[in-house]
Symmetry: C2
Subunit: 330 residues, 2 copies
């Protein structure tokens, strides 16, 4: 790699269902992007091969060689050791991604410094640099999707913790007597307030005979009820769907109050598919922050929705690579 502070940055975001690749100018502007399916079930190697092809294709389309890049940033789901560029523990949708030296693999393939960061942390950095959190010094991002992840900006910088695994706010216990979570912990926010929690709860209640428009929406296949359906049914006033959603929203509120008391953030940014349900899902949490959190902290926080949608990860991965590359050459 040449010392090119004004060289473009290539960013990728490897999620459970999609891989996004994007080219950024050194000022952080997105120049070009691509999306392909992850097909994680095919195994780790095919996914990495597809990622490399996507990078090649994006470079080709922009008449660039890899050697002209200032760095490659990769956001990836799972427990990431950013210092070593290793995917340590897989996210639930990416079986096999344990102890994968992703940074080294990409770096050897393209001969360009490569930096790996957890996808939710990348999204927080993306929203901070180019989205909802611009100009804010301290923020916490909640990614409210099938699971619940998070990202932290502290004193104006991405906070990654000792090895890059910080901000697992979906895995704080909010109910000591709650259900066991797949992570090995108990009563986690994720098992009570995520999209999957909403689905599980709705399926269970409809299965045992409770009346709801969800049965019809799922074509009689109760197991096919999705969080989106619950959101739509709740919007139409379906009492069971509303009840299920309010229960999850209540636990989300507890998580938000905890984050406000722990971080005294200027901003909570809510992203992910569940955040798109709007005030129906996030309204109760806003109210709980006002009622339950320390007044000095609840007065200081704005609760907003994310602005970059599913591009937050690549924006953040690009910003991360740029910062790390500059730090190395500094």
């Amino acid at each position: 790699m040449t010392d090119q502070h004004d060289a473009p940055i290539l960013a990728a975001d490897i999620g459970g269902t999609k891989v996004m690749t994007a080219l950024f100018s050194s000022e952080g502007k997105m120049v070009s992007r691509d999306v392909c399916p992850t097909l994680a079930n095919e195994g780790v190697k095919p996914v990495i091969k597809r990622l490399c092809s996507a990078i090649d294709s994006l470079l080709g389309r922009n008449s660039l060689k890899a050697s002209q890049l200032g760095g490659i940033g990769v956001a990836c789901a799972g427990g990431i050791d950013s210092g070593r560029g290793v995917v340590v523990t897989p996210s639930p949708n990416m079986t096999g991604w344990a102890d994968i030296p992703l940074g080294d693999i990409i770096q050897e393939r393209f001969k360009i410094s490569t930096f790996v960061v957890n996808d939710a942390s990348a999204a927080a950095l993306g929203e901070h640099r180019s989205g909802a959190g611009m100009g804010v010094n301290n923020l916490v991002l909640f990614t409210l999707g099938t699971g619940i992840g998070g990202g932290i900006i502290a004193n104006g910088e991405l906070y990654l913790g000792a090895v890059g695994a910080a901000a697992e706010i979906g895995h704080m216990t909010v109910d000591a007597n709650g259900p066991d979570c797949g992570c090995g912990n108990t009563g986690c926010l994720e098992i009570l307030a995520s999209g999957r929690a909403v689905e599980r709860d709705a399926v269970k209640r409809v299965s045992r005979g409770e009346k709801s428009s969800l049965s019809e929406m799922a074509g009689g296949e109760t197991e096919d009820i999705t969080a989106e359906m619950v959101g739509a049914a709740a919007n139409n006033g379906d009492p069971l769907a509303l009840d299920v959603l309010m229960r999850a929203a209540y636990y989300l509120g507890i998580g938000m109050v905890n984050v406000v008391n722990i971080f005294n953030p200027e901003m909570i940014v809510l992203g992910g598919g569940m955040a798109e349900l709007g005030d129906l899902f996030i309204g109760p949490g806003k109210k709980m922050v006002a009622e339950r959190a320390f007044p000095v902290s609840s007065r200081a926080v704005r609760v907003v929705t994310a602005q970059l949608g599913n591009e937050a990860g690549v924006y953040g991965a690009a910003a991360f690579a740029l910062e790390q590359a500059m730090r190395r050459t500094a």
Copy 2:
């Protein structure tokens, strides 16, 4: 104030029972210290007057004028707005300390830049600069006393949040269906795992007739049972005391797991009187961190006890004043 980067710093720590004042060299070495009772029940003005007298006395004893100081740092219990130097919300033991412009009051009295910081955040900074956390980049301090407070070092710096009210880790909900906390929140760590929680639990159980050596230790006055007594009785194998302590230790463990998953810290520092009970009280939490937290994070964290004892607050207040003063003159 003159621009004296090598001038001594005066630090104070106002707690519910004691006020400590100390003089530090510009390199952060403690030169001299004093302790006087807070007598918070007398009201805000008398406490501040006593603090000012203590400062005068410490200066006199060291043949210094206030004008020779590089700054004054004050650690104070309660919700602090560090940016404005205001005690916004009182700690439970300091009635009346609401919206007190402590920084301005001290600054006007001594004509020296004065910086106010929450006492637990100050303790975290003290332990980071001069105690258990030296050389560590990310740590979270738990102050385990009558209540539970906290302090955060993120990316090598004190993390105060938007206005200085961050790190209220005692007020994260760990049991959604738990008892109401005095802070307005529900099932907080503090109401389940603090010294006061231990006392409350022991008093309740002995009052309703459960057998325990605690009755005798308290001279038959069940209401006089203290957390120290519970600790001593538990150390002697008293089953009820052990049970009460294990219940609190379990909730502390949940709080520690949450902090490990949220912060991926290199270190958790446990300070305060309850931490002095040692492994009897903090052992279960260490085990829970190993068993329940994300492996990548539990492997990265060391759980240690604080080193500076009740001097952590003045060490931190001095470091805070030094940093802030240098930032102003930079």
